[in-house]
Symmetry: C2
Subunit: 256 residues, 2 copies
Protein backbone atom coordinates (compact mmCIF):
# COMPACT_ATOMS: atom_id res chain seq x y z
CA UNK A 1 0.00 0.00 0.00
CA UNK A 2 1.01 3.66 -0.30
CA UNK A 3 1.47 5.90 2.73
CA UNK A 4 2.02 9.66 2.84
CA UNK A 5 3.45 11.14 6.05
CA UNK A 6 2.95 14.89 6.45
CA UNK A 7 5.58 15.99 8.93
CA UNK A 8 5.70 19.33 10.75
CA UNK A 9 8.53 19.73 13.24
CA UNK A 10 11.21 22.38 12.65
CA UNK A 11 14.04 20.31 14.15
CA UNK A 12 15.28 17.23 12.24
CA UNK A 13 16.86 16.04 15.53
CA UNK A 14 13.57 16.22 17.45
CA UNK A 15 11.71 13.35 19.09
CA UNK A 16 8.75 14.04 16.80
CA UNK A 17 10.91 13.46 13.72
CA UNK A 18 12.62 10.42 15.26
CA UNK A 19 9.22 8.81 15.89
CA UNK A 20 8.08 9.73 12.39
CA UNK A 21 11.12 7.86 11.05
CA UNK A 22 10.32 4.84 13.22
CA UNK A 23 6.90 4.78 11.56
CA UNK A 24 8.29 5.24 8.05
CA UNK A 25 10.95 2.55 8.52
CA UNK A 26 8.39 0.07 9.82
CA UNK A 27 6.02 0.74 6.93
CA UNK A 28 8.82 0.31 4.38
CA UNK A 29 10.03 -2.87 6.09
CA UNK A 30 6.49 -4.23 5.74
CA UNK A 31 6.61 -3.60 2.00
CA UNK A 32 4.60 -0.38 1.81
CA UNK A 33 5.68 2.58 -0.31
CA UNK A 34 6.21 5.73 1.80
CA UNK A 35 6.49 9.38 0.84
CA UNK A 36 7.25 12.05 3.44
CA UNK A 37 6.20 15.67 3.01
CA UNK A 38 8.57 17.36 5.45
CA UNK A 39 6.93 20.78 5.51
CA UNK A 40 9.89 22.60 7.07
CA UNK A 41 12.40 21.03 4.67
CA UNK A 42 10.09 21.99 1.79
CA UNK A 43 9.79 25.55 3.14
CA UNK A 44 6.03 25.12 2.81
CA UNK A 45 4.14 28.40 2.35
CA UNK A 46 1.59 28.50 5.17
CA UNK A 47 -0.66 31.44 4.35
CA UNK A 48 -3.47 31.36 1.79
CA UNK A 49 -3.03 34.58 -0.17
CA UNK A 50 -3.41 36.13 -3.62
CA UNK A 51 -0.29 34.35 -4.87
CA UNK A 52 -2.30 31.11 -4.65
CA UNK A 53 -4.78 32.29 -7.27
CA UNK A 54 -2.92 33.10 -10.43
CA UNK A 55 -6.09 33.79 -12.41
CA UNK A 56 -7.11 36.79 -10.29
CA UNK A 57 -6.57 40.18 -11.86
CA UNK A 58 -4.98 42.85 -9.70
CA UNK A 59 -8.22 44.66 -8.92
CA UNK A 60 -10.39 41.56 -8.53
CA UNK A 61 -11.69 40.69 -5.08
CA UNK A 62 -10.28 37.49 -3.61
CA UNK A 63 -12.89 35.33 -1.91
CA UNK A 64 -10.89 32.23 -1.00
CA UNK A 65 -13.62 29.59 -1.56
CA UNK A 66 -14.61 31.15 -4.91
CA UNK A 67 -11.02 31.74 -6.01
CA UNK A 68 -10.12 28.18 -5.03
CA UNK A 69 -12.99 26.76 -7.11
CA UNK A 70 -12.04 28.91 -10.10
CA UNK A 71 -8.36 27.96 -9.88
CA UNK A 72 -9.20 24.25 -9.67
CA UNK A 73 -11.54 24.52 -12.67
CA UNK A 74 -9.00 26.49 -14.70
CA UNK A 75 -6.14 24.18 -13.75
CA UNK A 76 -4.21 27.08 -12.26
CA UNK A 77 -3.61 25.86 -8.71
CA UNK A 78 0.02 26.42 -7.79
CA UNK A 79 2.57 23.65 -8.34
CA UNK A 80 3.24 23.10 -4.63
CA UNK A 81 -0.47 22.51 -3.93
CA UNK A 82 -0.88 20.22 -6.96
CA UNK A 83 2.15 18.17 -5.88
CA UNK A 84 0.65 17.59 -2.45
CA UNK A 85 -2.76 16.73 -3.90
CA UNK A 86 -1.10 14.15 -6.17
CA UNK A 87 0.63 12.58 -3.18
CA UNK A 88 -2.67 12.41 -1.28
CA UNK A 89 -4.42 10.80 -4.27
CA UNK A 90 -1.54 8.32 -4.53
CA UNK A 91 -1.76 7.42 -0.84
CA UNK A 92 -3.95 4.74 0.69
CA UNK A 93 -3.23 6.25 4.09
CA UNK A 94 -2.09 9.69 5.25
CA UNK A 95 -0.35 10.22 8.60
CA UNK A 96 0.10 13.63 10.24
CA UNK A 97 3.20 13.81 12.45
CA UNK A 98 3.42 16.96 14.58
CA UNK A 99 3.91 18.46 18.04
CA UNK A 100 0.75 19.83 19.69
CA UNK A 101 1.29 23.59 19.88
CA UNK A 102 -1.39 25.62 21.63
CA UNK A 103 -3.82 22.73 21.46
CA UNK A 104 -3.69 22.47 17.68
CA UNK A 105 -1.36 21.78 14.79
CA UNK A 106 1.67 24.03 14.17
CA UNK A 107 0.92 26.93 11.79
CA UNK A 108 2.85 25.33 8.93
CA UNK A 109 0.63 22.23 9.05
CA UNK A 110 -2.53 24.32 9.34
CA UNK A 111 -1.32 26.06 6.21
CA UNK A 112 -0.95 22.71 4.46
CA UNK A 113 -4.62 21.97 5.24
CA UNK A 114 -5.76 25.49 4.35
CA UNK A 115 -4.07 25.31 0.94
CA UNK A 116 -4.13 21.62 -0.09
CA UNK A 117 -7.79 21.03 0.87
CA UNK A 118 -8.87 23.34 -1.94
CA UNK A 119 -12.37 23.52 -3.39
CA UNK A 120 -13.17 20.30 -5.24
CA UNK A 121 -10.48 18.44 -3.31
CA UNK A 122 -10.99 18.89 0.44
CA UNK A 123 -14.59 20.01 -0.03
CA UNK A 124 -17.10 20.58 -2.77
CA UNK A 125 -19.69 23.29 -2.75
CA UNK A 126 -22.86 21.56 -1.50
CA UNK A 127 -21.20 18.19 -2.06
CA UNK A 128 -20.82 15.13 0.12
CA UNK A 129 -18.72 15.31 3.25
CA UNK A 130 -18.16 13.58 6.59
CA UNK A 131 -17.43 10.03 5.57
CA UNK A 132 -17.96 10.83 1.90
CA UNK A 133 -16.15 13.09 -0.52
CA UNK A 134 -13.11 13.02 -2.76
CA UNK A 135 -10.88 11.23 -0.24
CA UNK A 136 -13.30 8.51 0.86
CA UNK A 137 -11.78 5.04 1.03
CA UNK A 138 -8.44 6.33 2.31
CA UNK A 139 -7.30 6.15 5.93
CA UNK A 140 -5.79 8.95 8.00
CA UNK A 141 -4.13 9.05 11.39
CA UNK A 142 -2.58 11.61 13.69
CA UNK A 143 0.74 10.97 15.53
CA UNK A 144 1.18 13.77 18.04
CA UNK A 145 3.82 14.65 20.61
CA UNK A 146 2.84 16.66 23.71
CA UNK A 147 5.04 18.26 26.34
CA UNK A 148 2.48 18.11 29.15
CA UNK A 149 1.31 15.30 31.37
CA UNK A 150 -1.38 12.85 30.33
CA UNK A 151 -3.61 13.73 33.31
CA UNK A 152 -3.88 17.32 32.06
CA UNK A 153 -5.52 15.91 28.90
CA UNK A 154 -7.69 13.28 30.63
CA UNK A 155 -11.50 13.35 30.84
CA UNK A 156 -11.23 15.67 33.84
CA UNK A 157 -7.90 17.30 32.93
CA UNK A 158 -7.78 21.08 32.77
CA UNK A 159 -6.73 21.25 29.11
CA UNK A 160 -9.80 19.27 28.08
CA UNK A 161 -9.95 15.64 26.92
CA UNK A 162 -7.39 14.91 24.21
CA UNK A 163 -10.05 13.33 21.97
CA UNK A 164 -12.05 16.57 22.13
CA UNK A 165 -8.97 18.72 21.46
CA UNK A 166 -8.20 16.57 18.41
CA UNK A 167 -11.84 16.56 17.20
CA UNK A 168 -11.43 19.68 15.00
CA UNK A 169 -8.53 17.84 13.34
CA UNK A 170 -9.82 14.25 13.24
CA UNK A 171 -13.44 15.08 12.46
CA UNK A 172 -13.12 18.53 10.92
CA UNK A 173 -9.97 18.28 8.79
CA UNK A 174 -9.86 14.52 8.06
CA UNK A 175 -13.31 12.91 8.32
CA UNK A 176 -14.90 15.88 6.54
CA UNK A 177 -13.08 15.28 3.22
CA UNK A 178 -13.83 11.57 3.47
CA UNK A 179 -11.00 9.78 5.27
CA UNK A 180 -11.58 6.91 7.65
CA UNK A 181 -9.80 8.37 10.69
CA UNK A 182 -7.87 6.02 12.95
CA UNK A 183 -7.41 6.50 16.70
CA UNK A 184 -4.53 8.95 17.26
CA UNK A 185 -1.17 7.92 18.66
CA UNK A 186 -0.25 10.38 21.41
CA UNK A 187 3.06 10.71 23.28
CA UNK A 188 2.99 12.84 26.47
CA UNK A 189 5.81 14.43 28.50
CA UNK A 190 8.21 14.54 25.61
CA UNK A 191 10.80 16.27 27.82
CA UNK A 192 11.01 13.14 29.95
CA UNK A 193 11.96 10.67 27.24
CA UNK A 194 14.79 8.36 28.27
CA UNK A 195 16.11 5.51 26.14
CA UNK A 196 13.87 2.86 27.71
CA UNK A 197 10.75 4.92 27.10
CA UNK A 198 11.87 5.74 23.57
CA UNK A 199 12.23 2.03 22.84
CA UNK A 200 8.81 1.28 24.30
CA UNK A 201 7.24 4.14 22.34
CA UNK A 202 8.94 2.93 19.15
CA UNK A 203 7.58 -0.56 19.73
CA UNK A 204 4.06 0.82 20.10
CA UNK A 205 4.43 2.87 16.92
CA UNK A 206 5.62 -0.20 15.00
CA UNK A 207 2.53 -2.05 16.22
CA UNK A 208 0.28 0.80 15.15
CA UNK A 209 1.91 0.85 11.72
CA UNK A 210 1.46 -2.91 11.42
CA UNK A 211 -2.29 -2.44 11.99
CA UNK A 212 -2.64 0.70 9.87
CA UNK A 213 -4.87 -1.02 7.31
CA UNK A 214 -6.80 -3.26 9.69
CA UNK A 215 -7.53 -1.31 12.89
CA UNK A 216 -11.09 0.01 13.24
CA UNK A 217 -11.48 3.74 12.55
CA UNK A 218 -13.03 6.19 15.00
CA UNK A 219 -16.78 5.53 14.60
CA UNK A 220 -17.81 9.04 13.51
CA UNK A 221 -21.37 9.24 12.20
CA UNK A 222 -21.47 9.75 8.40
CA UNK A 223 -23.49 12.77 7.33
CA UNK A 224 -25.54 10.63 4.95
CA UNK A 225 -25.89 7.70 7.35
CA UNK A 226 -29.39 8.55 8.55
CA UNK A 227 -28.46 10.02 11.94
CA UNK A 228 -28.84 13.67 10.93
CA UNK A 229 -31.83 15.76 9.90
CA UNK A 230 -31.40 16.81 6.26
CA UNK A 231 -30.19 20.34 5.53
CA UNK A 232 -30.05 21.37 9.22
CA UNK A 233 -27.54 18.52 9.58
CA UNK A 234 -28.39 18.29 13.25
CA UNK A 235 -28.50 14.98 15.07
CA UNK A 236 -32.01 13.58 15.05
CA UNK A 237 -33.95 14.26 18.23
CA UNK A 238 -34.25 10.59 19.19
CA UNK A 239 -30.51 10.01 18.73
CA UNK A 240 -29.53 13.18 20.57
CA UNK A 241 -31.75 12.13 23.47
CA UNK A 242 -29.41 9.29 24.40
CA UNK A 243 -26.13 10.65 22.99
CA UNK A 244 -23.60 12.48 25.17
CA UNK A 245 -23.37 16.25 24.78
CA UNK A 246 -20.53 17.92 22.90
CA UNK A 247 -18.29 16.38 20.27
CA UNK A 248 -18.83 12.83 21.54
CA UNK A 249 -22.41 12.96 20.22
CA UNK A 250 -20.99 12.52 16.74
CA UNK A 251 -19.59 9.04 17.44
CA UNK A 252 -21.67 5.88 17.27
CA UNK A 253 -19.86 3.15 19.14
CA UNK A 254 -22.09 0.45 17.67
CA UNK A 255 -20.20 1.11 14.44
CA UNK A 256 -16.89 -0.16 15.82
CA UNK B 1 -8.59 52.10 27.16
CA UNK B 2 -6.24 50.45 24.64
CA UNK B 3 -7.41 47.79 22.20
CA UNK B 4 -5.33 45.61 19.88
CA UNK B 5 -7.11 43.93 16.97
CA UNK B 6 -5.23 41.01 15.43
CA UNK B 7 -6.67 40.61 11.95
CA UNK B 8 -6.20 37.62 9.66
CA UNK B 9 -8.05 37.82 6.35
CA UNK B 10 -6.12 37.94 3.06
CA UNK B 11 -8.61 40.20 1.30
CA UNK B 12 -8.92 43.84 2.41
CA UNK B 13 -12.31 43.94 0.64
CA UNK B 14 -13.67 40.96 2.61
CA UNK B 15 -16.63 40.96 4.97
CA UNK B 16 -14.29 39.90 7.79
CA UNK B 17 -12.18 43.03 7.31
CA UNK B 18 -15.25 45.25 6.91
CA UNK B 19 -16.61 44.02 10.24
CA UNK B 20 -13.20 44.46 11.85
CA UNK B 21 -13.30 48.10 10.73
CA UNK B 22 -16.79 48.54 12.14
CA UNK B 23 -15.39 47.39 15.49
CA UNK B 24 -12.31 49.61 15.27
CA UNK B 25 -14.34 52.68 14.27
CA UNK B 26 -16.78 52.16 17.13
CA UNK B 27 -13.98 51.77 19.67
CA UNK B 28 -12.22 54.92 18.43
CA UNK B 29 -15.50 56.84 18.44
CA UNK B 30 -15.91 55.84 22.09
CA UNK B 31 -12.50 57.31 22.88
CA UNK B 32 -10.41 54.14 23.01
CA UNK B 33 -7.00 53.86 21.37
CA UNK B 34 -6.89 51.13 18.74
CA UNK B 35 -3.98 49.37 17.04
CA UNK B 36 -4.56 46.83 14.29
CA UNK B 37 -2.09 44.07 13.52
CA UNK B 38 -3.13 43.16 9.99
CA UNK B 39 -1.13 39.95 9.63
CA UNK B 40 -1.42 39.75 5.85
CA UNK B 41 -0.46 43.38 5.34
CA UNK B 42 2.50 42.81 7.68
CA UNK B 43 3.49 39.68 5.75
CA UNK B 44 3.61 37.93 9.12
CA UNK B 45 5.94 34.92 9.20
CA UNK B 46 3.79 32.00 10.31
CA UNK B 47 6.24 29.18 10.97
CA UNK B 48 8.34 28.84 14.12
CA UNK B 49 11.79 27.95 12.83
CA UNK B 50 15.51 28.41 13.48
CA UNK B 51 15.39 31.98 12.22
CA UNK B 52 13.38 32.81 15.38
CA UNK B 53 16.27 31.88 17.65
CA UNK B 54 19.25 33.98 16.76
CA UNK B 55 21.36 32.65 19.63
CA UNK B 56 21.41 29.06 18.32
CA UNK B 57 24.66 27.93 16.74
CA UNK B 58 24.42 26.07 13.44
CA UNK B 59 24.94 22.62 14.95
CA UNK B 60 22.87 23.19 18.08
CA UNK B 61 19.59 21.30 18.46
CA UNK B 62 16.48 23.48 18.40
CA UNK B 63 13.91 22.54 21.02
CA UNK B 64 11.31 25.28 20.62
CA UNK B 65 10.31 25.69 24.31
CA UNK B 66 13.96 25.74 25.43
CA UNK B 67 15.12 27.97 22.58
CA UNK B 68 12.20 30.33 23.28
CA UNK B 69 13.14 30.59 26.96
CA UNK B 70 16.79 31.22 26.11
CA UNK B 71 15.95 33.87 23.51
CA UNK B 72 13.63 35.69 25.94
CA UNK B 73 16.30 35.61 28.67
CA UNK B 74 19.04 36.80 26.30
CA UNK B 75 16.83 39.49 24.79
CA UNK B 76 17.27 38.01 21.32
CA UNK B 77 13.67 37.44 20.30
CA UNK B 78 13.13 38.72 16.77
CA UNK B 79 11.90 42.29 16.22
CA UNK B 80 8.54 41.22 14.76
CA UNK B 81 7.74 39.11 17.84
CA UNK B 82 8.86 41.83 20.26
CA UNK B 83 6.72 44.42 18.45
CA UNK B 84 3.63 42.24 18.84
CA UNK B 85 4.39 41.54 22.50
CA UNK B 86 4.69 45.26 23.14
CA UNK B 87 1.30 45.83 21.54
CA UNK B 88 -0.25 43.10 23.68
CA UNK B 89 1.28 44.58 26.85
CA UNK B 90 -0.03 48.01 25.82
CA UNK B 91 -3.55 46.65 25.25
CA UNK B 92 -6.29 46.37 27.84
CA UNK B 93 -8.19 44.15 25.41
CA UNK B 94 -7.15 42.02 22.44
CA UNK B 95 -9.61 41.08 19.68
CA UNK B 96 -8.95 38.33 17.13
CA UNK B 97 -10.75 38.94 13.82
CA UNK B 98 -10.64 35.98 11.41
CA UNK B 99 -12.58 33.61 9.18
CA UNK B 100 -13.02 30.08 10.54
CA UNK B 101 -11.00 27.85 8.20
CA UNK B 102 -11.19 24.11 8.81
CA UNK B 103 -12.66 24.66 12.26
CA UNK B 104 -9.73 26.74 13.50
CA UNK B 105 -7.84 29.96 12.88
CA UNK B 106 -6.11 30.56 9.52
CA UNK B 107 -2.48 29.41 9.50
CA UNK B 108 -1.15 32.96 9.62
CA UNK B 109 -3.00 33.62 12.90
CA UNK B 110 -1.92 30.27 14.35
CA UNK B 111 1.61 31.37 13.53
CA UNK B 112 1.06 34.62 15.43
CA UNK B 113 0.11 32.59 18.51
CA UNK B 114 2.90 30.06 18.01
CA UNK B 115 5.51 32.83 17.83
CA UNK B 116 4.21 35.69 20.01
CA UNK B 117 3.18 33.49 22.95
CA UNK B 118 6.84 32.72 23.62
CA UNK B 119 8.21 31.25 26.83
CA UNK B 120 7.85 33.78 29.66
CA UNK B 121 5.13 35.62 27.75
CA UNK B 122 2.37 33.20 26.74
CA UNK B 123 3.50 30.61 29.27
CA UNK B 124 6.13 30.09 31.90
CA UNK B 125 7.76 26.79 32.67
CA UNK B 126 5.82 25.45 35.66
CA UNK B 127 4.27 28.88 36.17
CA UNK B 128 0.70 30.03 36.64
CA UNK B 129 -1.80 29.63 33.85
CA UNK B 130 -5.53 29.47 33.16
CA UNK B 131 -6.80 32.68 34.63
CA UNK B 132 -3.33 33.65 35.86
CA UNK B 133 -0.10 34.42 34.05
CA UNK B 134 1.58 37.33 32.33
CA UNK B 135 -1.56 38.57 30.58
CA UNK B 136 -3.97 38.38 33.52
CA UNK B 137 -6.17 41.44 33.92
CA UNK B 138 -6.56 41.93 30.19
CA UNK B 139 -9.61 40.96 28.16
CA UNK B 140 -9.71 39.01 24.91
CA UNK B 141 -12.45 38.25 22.42
CA UNK B 142 -12.87 36.39 19.18
CA UNK B 143 -14.81 37.84 16.20
CA UNK B 144 -15.24 35.05 13.68
CA UNK B 145 -16.88 34.76 10.28
CA UNK B 146 -18.19 31.39 9.10
CA UNK B 147 -19.43 30.35 5.67
CA UNK B 148 -21.75 27.58 6.93
CA UNK B 149 -25.17 27.65 8.53
CA UNK B 150 -25.67 28.17 12.25
CA UNK B 151 -27.53 24.86 12.66
CA UNK B 152 -24.40 22.97 11.54
CA UNK B 153 -22.63 24.46 14.57
CA UNK B 154 -25.50 24.07 17.05
CA UNK B 155 -25.52 21.70 20.04
CA UNK B 156 -26.60 18.88 17.73
CA UNK B 157 -25.01 20.21 14.53
CA UNK B 158 -22.68 17.90 12.63
CA UNK B 159 -19.64 20.19 12.89
CA UNK B 160 -19.86 20.18 16.68
CA UNK B 161 -21.06 23.03 18.92
CA UNK B 162 -19.35 26.32 18.09
CA UNK B 163 -18.38 26.88 21.73
CA UNK B 164 -16.56 23.53 21.73
CA UNK B 165 -14.86 24.26 18.40
CA UNK B 166 -13.65 27.57 19.80
CA UNK B 167 -12.57 26.06 23.14
CA UNK B 168 -8.98 25.34 22.00
CA UNK B 169 -8.79 29.04 21.07
CA UNK B 170 -10.76 30.67 23.90
CA UNK B 171 -9.54 28.41 26.69
CA UNK B 172 -6.28 27.08 25.25
CA UNK B 173 -4.81 30.12 23.51
CA UNK B 174 -6.41 32.98 25.48
CA UNK B 175 -7.47 31.89 28.98
CA UNK B 176 -4.23 29.90 29.40
CA UNK B 177 -1.94 32.97 29.28
CA UNK B 178 -4.29 34.80 31.62
CA UNK B 179 -6.86 36.76 29.61
CA UNK B 180 -10.46 37.12 30.72
CA UNK B 181 -12.13 35.73 27.59
CA UNK B 182 -15.38 37.28 26.43
CA UNK B 183 -18.16 35.41 24.61
CA UNK B 184 -17.28 35.24 20.91
CA UNK B 185 -19.10 37.18 18.23
CA UNK B 186 -19.92 34.79 15.40
CA UNK B 187 -21.33 35.58 11.95
CA UNK B 188 -22.68 32.62 9.94
CA UNK B 189 -23.45 32.23 6.21
CA UNK B 190 -21.14 34.97 5.15
CA UNK B 191 -21.97 34.29 1.51
CA UNK B 192 -25.55 35.40 2.15
CA UNK B 193 -24.81 38.86 3.46
CA UNK B 194 -27.06 41.52 1.96
CA UNK B 195 -27.03 45.17 2.94
CA UNK B 196 -29.79 44.83 5.55
CA UNK B 197 -28.01 41.98 7.28
CA UNK B 198 -24.70 43.80 7.11
CA UNK B 199 -26.28 46.79 8.86
CA UNK B 200 -27.82 44.56 11.53
CA UNK B 201 -24.50 42.75 12.05
CA UNK B 202 -22.66 46.08 12.28
CA UNK B 203 -25.15 47.27 14.89
CA UNK B 204 -24.55 44.14 16.97
CA UNK B 205 -20.79 44.58 16.70
CA UNK B 206 -21.05 48.20 17.85
CA UNK B 207 -23.02 47.01 20.86
CA UNK B 208 -20.45 44.36 21.64
CA UNK B 209 -17.67 46.96 21.41
CA UNK B 210 -19.61 49.28 23.70
CA UNK B 211 -19.68 46.52 26.33
CA UNK B 212 -16.12 45.29 25.77
CA UNK B 213 -15.00 46.34 29.24
CA UNK B 214 -18.18 45.52 31.13
CA UNK B 215 -19.62 42.28 29.74
CA UNK B 216 -19.04 39.17 31.87
CA UNK B 217 -16.29 36.85 30.61
CA UNK B 218 -16.81 33.15 29.87
CA UNK B 219 -16.75 31.60 33.36
CA UNK B 220 -13.80 29.25 32.85
CA UNK B 221 -12.52 27.69 36.06
CA UNK B 222 -9.15 29.14 37.12
CA UNK B 223 -6.45 26.52 37.63
CA UNK B 224 -5.71 27.85 41.10
CA UNK B 225 -9.37 28.38 42.03
CA UNK B 226 -9.75 25.21 44.08
CA UNK B 227 -11.68 23.16 41.51
CA UNK B 228 -8.71 21.06 40.37
CA UNK B 229 -6.57 18.45 42.10
CA UNK B 230 -3.02 19.78 42.39
CA UNK B 231 -0.39 18.55 39.95
CA UNK B 232 -2.79 16.18 38.15
CA UNK B 233 -4.80 19.32 37.39
CA UNK B 234 -7.91 17.19 37.01
CA UNK B 235 -11.31 18.39 38.11
CA UNK B 236 -12.02 17.26 41.65
CA UNK B 237 -14.16 14.14 41.86
CA UNK B 238 -17.06 15.87 43.59
CA UNK B 239 -17.13 18.66 40.99
CA UNK B 240 -16.80 16.28 38.04
CA UNK B 241 -19.70 14.25 39.42
CA UNK B 242 -22.19 17.00 38.62
CA UNK B 243 -20.34 18.73 35.74
CA UNK B 244 -21.10 17.95 32.11
CA UNK B 245 -18.58 15.83 30.22
CA UNK B 246 -16.16 17.32 27.70
CA UNK B 247 -15.00 20.92 27.48
CA UNK B 248 -18.09 22.27 29.23
CA UNK B 249 -16.85 20.75 32.50
CA UNK B 250 -14.31 23.58 32.68
CA UNK B 251 -16.95 26.29 33.02
CA UNK B 252 -18.60 27.21 36.29
CA UNK B 253 -21.76 29.13 35.55
CA UNK B 254 -22.07 30.30 39.14
CA UNK B 255 -19.12 32.53 38.30
CA UNK B 256 -21.11 34.58 35.77
Amino acid sequence: MNVLIVSAHPDPASLTVALRDVAADQLRAAGHAVQVSDLYAMNWKAAVDRADFLHLTADEQMRPPVASMQAAAAGTLTRDVLDEQEKVLWADAVIFSFPLWWFSVPAILKGWIDRVWSSGFGYQNGGERYGAGRLAGKRAMVMVTIGGRESHYSDRGINGPIDDLLFPINHGMLYYPGFDVLPPYVVYRTDRMDEARFQETSREIRERMASLFTIAPIPFRPQAGGDYVDKLVELKEEIAATAPRGFAAHLDHRRT
